[in-house]
């Protein structure tokens, strides 16, 4: 038996011969907050629905607290779920919605009332018990949905893109609220989102998914800084991804469009001339005048975009276009478009994507930040 509180072992799902989820293995510890992150159609919601019991795996096992629940009915799993569209019962008041699960469980009326009051306090909506869903804003409705899902003290809380329908400010406020409630209750949580910032900001671990497969599982810091696949590198954050080749594996030197770059990546097993995917985060590049690092590259300024807290500069290195991010400050002196200058980066900033999956991934997602020939 596996050690996780919630475990998915070799879970596989097909819809009429079309693969939705493939060989999904995950152990979630009790009280852990795990996010499934990926683009539409990557299988994250299908996986969540299999945990909830709304879909049944084609093969594999799902265990909850050591019990095999693979084919258990949704109403027998004691799992709380929050939906993107809130799914509050329109015919019931806020109190009726929150107390619904307890009413079904035939709890005494006094207990239901007390619990509803407790839940309303938790979501800071005391005094809203008699209102109907249509009298609430989107953010309030989602908070009620969260309270409803938690009222029965479920073993696992599942959230399916709960903030997608809300505007940006409420989204940020509510995600902090979800996280603090989750921490306070210590409830094991699976959170589905396509928003990388959301996933990185609230999760203990992130599972990045693509085309039904788990691309990488790790802490947000790991996922962002040490992407293991080309897809993760491109999907999480902005990344300059270009085709390069190995020059000297022993000295850890690679080449992109005629320019030599030093990397700190382990290149054992590679041979000179081998084609590889090279990736550099925009924020790891800086002007060479700011302090020279091992890699100094000649470039020309193509465009400068002011994005508020950062300034995104597009530079041309040979035939390749790279993005470079620099923090905005009132005294920032920037070169002009067309100027020739030098950029630099540390050797740790030059990543070699080892488990590079099919090169069409970037093109298919239309995420390639660089005009350099994507792999």
């Amino acid at each position: 038996m596996s050690g996780g509180f919630l475990s998915l072992e070799g879970v596989h799902k097909e819809f009429g011969g079309v693969l939705a989820v493939e060989a999904f293995n995950l152990e979630v510890a009790k009280g852990e907050f795990v996010s499934f992150l990926g683009p539409s159609g990557c299988g994250k919601t299908t996986t969540l629905r299999m945990v909830a019991g709304f879909e049944q795996p084609s093969s594999g096992t799902i265990r909850l607290a050591g019990k095999d629940v693979t084919f258990a009915k949704p109403n027998e799993r004691n799992i709380g779920m929050v939906f993107q569209s809130y799914a509050l019962f329109p015919n019931m008041t806020v109190a009726g919605n929150i107390g619904f699960g307890m009413k079904i469980a035939k709890k005494p009326v006094a207990e239901i009332k007390a619990r509803v009051g407790e839940m309303l306090k938790m979501i800071h909506m005391e005094g809203f018990g008699d209102r109907y869903p249509y009298q609430l804003s989107g953010g309030q409705q989602q908070r009620v949905a969260l309270a409803r899902a938690l009222a029965l003290s479920p073993q696992v809380l599942l959230l399916d893109e709960p903030l997608s329908a809300l505007d940006a400010k409420i989204r940020v406020a509510l995600r902090s609220e979800i996280r603090s409630i989750q921490r306070a209750l210590g409830i094991t949580t699976i959170y589905v989102t396509h928003d990388q910032e959301e996933a990185l900001s609230i999760s203990d671990r992130v599972v990045v998914m693509y085309q039904g497969r788990m691309e990488q599982v790790g802490a947000p810091f790991e996922i962002y800084n040490f992407p293991q696949t080309e897809f993760v590198a491109s999907f999480v954050g902005t990344l300059n991804t270009v085709a390069g080749e190995v020059v000297d594996p022993a000295a850890q030197i690679v080449r992109i469009d005629g320019q030599l770059l030093q990397t700190s990546e382990d290149m054992s097993g590679m041979v000179p001339g081998q084609k590889v995917a090279i990736a550099i985060r925009p924020e790891r590049l800086s002007f060479a005048t700011d302090g020279v690092k091992p890699n100094v590259i000649d470039c020309q300024i193509e465009s400068i975009n002011f994005l508020g807290s950062i300034v995104r500069i597009q530079v041309r290195i040979g035939s390749l276009l790279f993005y470079m991010d620099t923090f905005n400050n009132p005294f920032l002196e920037l070169p002009k478009v067309g100027d020739t200058t030098q950029v630099t980066c540390s050797k740790e900033a030059v990543l070699i994507l080892r488990h590079a999956t099919a090169g069409e991934q970037l093109a298919a997602l239309d995420l390639a930040p660089s005009e350099a020939a994507p792999l």
Binding site: N75, I79, M81, F83, F89, G101, I104, A145, R148, L152
Partner: protein, 277 residues
């Protein structure tokens, strides 16, 4: 303390709505008036005729006689009971069917829709003869007694209400996110029975009322099937009345019309209240 007077807000100029040309407006009114007259003149004539029961003066004598007739009250109450029973039976069949089709078998929807439309396609006479042939011999002998025939009649009425009931329920289901509400209820521990009772039925209230009132209006005046099945309902009573009385049939027609319109008015009122919510 100084009181400052705020300048009067400028009257917002209404956007110049494109008024229809006068000629067009006249044309629209003409069509409306002609349409209204087409419906209202026969109705007014019937009403006028129903008031002429007493010689030399207009009055409600025909209505008094009608309501004093024990046969009317019996057939009227029998029709109401039949209508209510048919509505319940129809709801019992249609709501779970429409719900299940929408939730689990959306591909079957055209098939179910076609089946529910059959009462429109099959003439009442054909339907009733088919039913009589099928249910007048063992093992499905249901036409032997008046009461068993009445049960059969209610079943047939439920079937002829399917086109209205299915459409109303299906529209109602379309207006709510059935799948997500069902899944939300399931995740909170509800079984299918509880989901239908606590979540689906209450949220289909308006749709169910529309279907129910339409069924009520249709069943109340139904003649062909009731006549061939020898039932003493309002339809056959009206037909008999036409043969034996002069003014009462007109009074009866107005009463039936008023009941139908009351049902329609109730649908409109409930729908408007719901929209306002």
């Amino acid at each position: 303390m100084t009181i400052s007077t705020a300048p009067a807000p400028l009257k917002a100029e209404a956007p110049a709505a494109e008024a229809p040309p006068k000629g067009n407006r006249f044309g629209s009114w003409l069509i409306f008036v002609m349409g209204a007259l087409y419906f209202l003149i026969p109705l007014a004539a019937t009403f006028y005729w129903s008031l002429r029961a007493e010689k030399g003066r207009l009055g409600f004598e025909a209505y008094r006689r009608l309501f004093a007739d024990a046969g009317f009250l019996t057939s009227f109450s029998e029709s109401i009971v039949n209508a209510v029973a048919a509505i319940f039976l129809s709801l019992l069949i249609i709501v779970p069917t429409a719900y299940w089709v929408r939730l689990r078998m959306p591909k079957l929807r055209p098939v179910v829709e076609f089946i529910t439309l059959l009462p429109f396609v099959i003439p009442a006479v054909v339907l009733v003869f088919g039913i009589i042939r099928l249910y007048s011999r063992p093992p499905l002998l249901l036409t032997a007694t008046y009461d068993s025939s009445r049960v059969l009649l209610v079943c047939v009425y439920a079937a002829i209400s399917f086109p209205y009931m299915f459409r109303s329920v299906d529209n109602g289901l379309r207006a709510i996110d059935v799948r997500t509400l069902t899944e939300a209820a399931q995740s909170l521990g509800a079984n299918w029975f509880i989901i239908i009772r606590e979540v689906i039925f209450p949220n289909l209230r308006v749709a169910l009322l529309s279907g129910a009132l339409l069924t009520f209006a249709i069943v109340l005046g139904e003649l062909t099937i009731a006549l061939f099945m020898a039932q003493h309902t309002l339809g056959p009573y009206m037909a008999n009345l036409t043969r034996s009385k002069v003014y009462e049939p007109s009074a009866m027609a107005i009463v039936a019309f008023a009941i139908t319109w009351a049902a329609m008015g109730m649908i409109a009122y409930i729908s408007r209240e719901r929209k306002r919510q």
